[in-house]
């Protein structure tokens, strides 16, 4: 806390805002502000995690089935990409503290490349969902009319569909499609369905493929909302990095003044940590069921 009376004629450090007495006060304020901002971001994502928690505990098989169809390779790749980007971000702060302008610039650019890579992979994944009728909104998937000339035998009941069996993609109205409820049969046979599942997947004692599909749809809904909101935060992060790049290029950040770099770093690490939670919860469910 500063103890001297402020006076119009005192020297002000560059970057000092008018309401502060000295840089120490400014940096403390900005720091507290950013930490509380991140706390409210946790509450923001927290609502989604709560919804996820509720539905996963009610319908674990549907979530396992949905999760298995996500590509854990790309998810894992993205996790690696973000962790490395956090490393480059932390190094940016380090070199700002060392007044090393060129290192900062290189590392910010690297961070941005990794961030863009992350978003690129997400685009690949979302496109894949589009192509396979996994976007939970009717009409938003790739349309593929049925081929009248193709021979169709008796459709298999959904619990006899083996995992990974190829189906011809028929989706005239672009709806959400899910035809594989083999996990339900498996769970029923080994008796580990939850009470909600015993009511939720069955009609008149039989497995109801449509009802199971609705629950898997909820998984994909949460998948898109959670990763979508996260991707939005990544985009904001990229804009933040662009601004940081420009100001670092102009040489603003030195050992005396690197607070904006540190605060941007905090934001970036936060976005990374959210992904670290999203990845296992969305991509890694129920893998042990599939063998």
């Amino acid at each position: 806390m500063s103890a001297h009376a402020s006076d119009k004629f005192v020297y002000h450090e560059p970057g000092l805002q008018h309401q502060f007495d000295d840089m120490g006060q400014q940096e403390e304020s900005v720091g507290i502000g950013m930490w509380f901002f991140l706390a409210q971001e946790i509450m923001f994502f927290g609502g989604l995690f709560t919804a996820y928690l509720v539905y996963r505990s009610k319908f674990p098989m549907a979530f396992a089935a949905g999760s298995n169809h996500l590509d854990a390779f790309w998810g894992g790749f993205n996790t690696l990409v973000l962790i490395v980007s956090s490393l480059t971000m932390a190094l940016t702060v380090f070199y700002a503290q060392k007044s090393n302008r060129s290192a900062q610039i290189v590392l910010i650019i690297l961070t941005m490349i990794f961030g863009a890579t992350f978003l690129g992979v997400k685009a690949i994944e979302y496109t894949d969902k589009y192509n396979h009728g996994l976007i939970p909104v009717a009409g938003w998937n790739k349309r593929a009319p049925a081929d009248p000339a193709a021979a169709h035998g008796e459709a298999k009941p959904c619990w006899e569909v083996a995992h990974g069996e190829e189906h011809k993609y028929v989706n005239p109205r672009g709806e959400f499609i899910w035809t594989d409820c083999s996990l339900v049969k498996q769970a029923q046979d080994h008796n580990y369905l939850t009470e909600s599942e015993r009511n939720g997947y069955f009609s008149s004692g039989q497995i109801d493929g449509n009802k199971f599909r609705d629950k898997v749809r909820i998984f994909y809904y949460l998948y898109f909302v959670m990763t979508g909101l996260h991707a939005l935060h990544m985009v904001v992060g990229l804009f933040l990095m662009a601004w940081l790049l420009w100001t670092a290029w102009k040489g603003y950040y030195t050992a005396e003044y690197y607070m904006p770099v540190e605060m941007s770093g905090l934001y970036w690490h936060f976005v990374d940590i959210v992904w670290i939670f999203l990845f296992p919860l969305l991509y890694l469910l129920g893998r042990h069921f599939m063998h």
């Binding site: 402020s6 008018h18 509450m43 923001f44 939970p136």
Partner: protein, 555 residues
């Protein structure tokens, strides 16, 4: 030290925050927390009047048992919008964004809030959200109730749910940024010597409120966002016909909306602490207890949301846990009540308009808080849920509590904010009209509620009519009491007596600078060497001089 009042010697005109820059741009792009507060003052007043017109419409419709003034569909929109305007666009911002923004930095001896541009952003966001809500109103409004219960709001309502939901979502960020700003400011911008336990209780209350604003508002933001997505895309987690759970919506909604009521009332309690203490010229009794009780209310307030779900089909045992915690959260408010009362003991009590409002708050919040216990006791809650008892309870705490505290605060700090004094006579008349009108309006509703009259009814059984007529009669008195301040306060801006720097002779730091204050708040940063609420000469108050001059216009 006291600066001269404005406009004393020609050629020696000192600029205050109002005269320092007179272009529209200097206002709209200002970083001055005081100007932002004034712009908030005008904005929330507009929303209050719109919400008030809806209230008048409701009471007029309820004069007769049949739905004859309005069609039921229109009535449903009117009560929904009354709730939304009042809660989101008036009550939640009111004291923090107007009085907090203006006075808090000065009270702690700072030049401004810690993050002035964030403050301005908060105002812009509020305007965008408010504009969107008004637009939604004009194109047809929304009829789901301010609580937006699903699946009615996701699937059945034919009104502008997404638009209003979006407005509320955006408005949430205004609230979050204000809270963030206060937390940082209180931590880092206190003047030298202003330790935590020398802070005025207004500041403690705002610290507690800011915690709730920052941590609670994001949850309603995500809930409303999910609601809008569900309505738009017909996929989601709240509508049972697509696999969702409507009770999950209620849990997520009330997780914020219960702490929201503490966002509304805690600043009011902070104002009342100031008023009771200052107008008894005595340090508040049990300072630490009041300070910590604010924090306790903020924390416990997050744990009781399930008391809004007692008859929703929630499990009995969950209900019991929430009822227990609801009883616990009542205790800190009781502690405040007792401490305020004890402050009057052996004080020197004056009955200026702000004090009348503070005493009114005490009586009305007492009833409001006690009736909260009725609703927290589960056996009674079952009978009283969704009846007019609930309506009466929350109006007692929100209007009888918060709005009255807001009015008291506006009157108290009016001379500081504007440099003018209002008519004390009309101030007292209004305060009494508000108190009497309020009780006449809402007390009969307790009786109606126990009889079983449901809320949100455009038409009701004829045996309830007489009590409804009493209520509407009271509402007209209340309405007049609320309108009068608009008139005499605006009048004072032009024709009011000039107020001195410290018309009340109170020790707070805000009274140690000119009225209105200069842009940088203090000519010289104060150094605090006295405890909170020191009314004697130790705090530097020149009481002899004041007695001699007695230029102040307090009656």
């Amino acid at each position: 030290m006291q600066s001269e009042a404005v406009l004393t010697h020609p050629g020696e005109k000192k600029l205050n925050y109002l005269t320092n820059g007179t272009t529209l741009k200097s206002w709209l792009l200002t970083k001055d927390h005081k100007r932002i507060a004034i712009m908030y003052l005008i904005s929330v007043s507009v929303f209050f009047m719109i919400g008030g017109m809806f209230a008048a419409t409701i009471r007029l419709e309820l004069l007769t048992p049949a739905s004859d003034l309005l069609e039921t569909g229109s009535y449903n929109k009117v009560f929904t919008e009354h709730g939304i305007m009042m809660i989101f666009f008036f009550l939640i911002p009111s004291i923090p964004a107007v009085i907090g923004n203006f006075i808090l930095p000065i009270m702690i001896g700072a030049k401004d809030l810690a993050l002035p541009r964030i403050n301005l952003l908060s105002l812009y966001i509020y305007w965008i959200a408010g504009g969107l809500a008004l637009y939604a109103l004009m194109v047809g409004g929304v009829d789901t109730g301010w609580t937006f219960y699903t699946p009615y709001s996701t699937t059945f309502s034919n009104s502008y749910v997404m638009l209003v939901g979006l407005a509320i979502f955006i408005n949430g960020f205004s609230s979050i940024l204000t809270g963030l700003n206060f937390i940082v400011t209180i931590h880092t911008m206190r003047a030298p010597g202003m330790t935590w336990f020398r802070l005025p209780l207004f500041v403690w209350a705002h610290y507690a409120v800011s915690l709730v604003m920052v941590l609670g508002t994001p949850v309603v933001a995500i809930t409303v966002l999910l609601l809008a997505v569900e309505r738009f895309a017909h996929v989601g987690i709240f509508d049972p016909s697509i696999g969702g759970d409507p009770i999950l919506f209620q849990h997520m909604f009330w997780f914020y909306s219960h702490p929201a009521v503490y966002i509304m009332v805690l600043p009011g309690m902070g104002v009342v602490s100031e008023l009771i203490s200052n107008f008894s010229r005595k340090k508040i009794f049990g300072y630490e207890f009041i300070a910590f009780s604010s924090i306790a209310i903020a924390v416990f307030g997050f744990l009781v949301w399930g008391h809004h779900l007692f008859v929703s089909g929630q499990s009995m045992y969950a209900g019991m846990v929430f009822s227990f915690l609801t009883m616990v959260v009542a205790v800190p408010s009781a502690i405040k009540m007792f401490n305020w009362t004890a402050t009057l003991y052996k004080g020197s009590v004056s009955f200026d308009t702000p004090m009348l409002y503070a005493l009114g708050f005490m009586g009305l919040f007492l009833i409001g808080g006690l009736t909260g216990l009725f609703l927290g006791a589960m056996g009674l809650a079952v009978h009283l849920s969704e009846t007019y008892f609930v309506v009466a309870h929350f109006h007692y705490v929100m209007v009888g509590g918060q709005v009255i505290a807001y009015l008291g605060g506006i009157h108290y700090w009016w001379p500081k904010m504007t440099g003018k004094m209002y008519s004390e006579f009309w101030g007292k008349i209004s305060a009494m009209l508000v108190f009497v009108g309020f009780n006449l309006t809402f007390f009969p509703q307790f009786i109606l509620g126990y009889l079983g009259m449901p809320r949100r009814y455009a038409a009701y059984p004829p045996e309830f009519q007489v009590l409804n007529i009493f209520s509407t009669a009271g509402a007209s008195v209340l309405g007049i009491g609320m309108l009068l301040p608009v008139i005499y306060l605006v009048h004072s801006l032009i024709w009011g007596k000039t107020a001195g720097d410290n018309p009340w002779m109170h020790p707070g730091l805000e009274w140690r600078t000119s009225s209105p204050p200069p842009t940088e708040n203090f000519e010289k940063t104060p150094v605090v060497t006295w405890e909170a609420y020191e009314f004697g000469e130790e705090s530097g108050l020149d009481l002899e001089e004041a007695r001699r001059r007695d230029l102040v216009t307090v009656t």
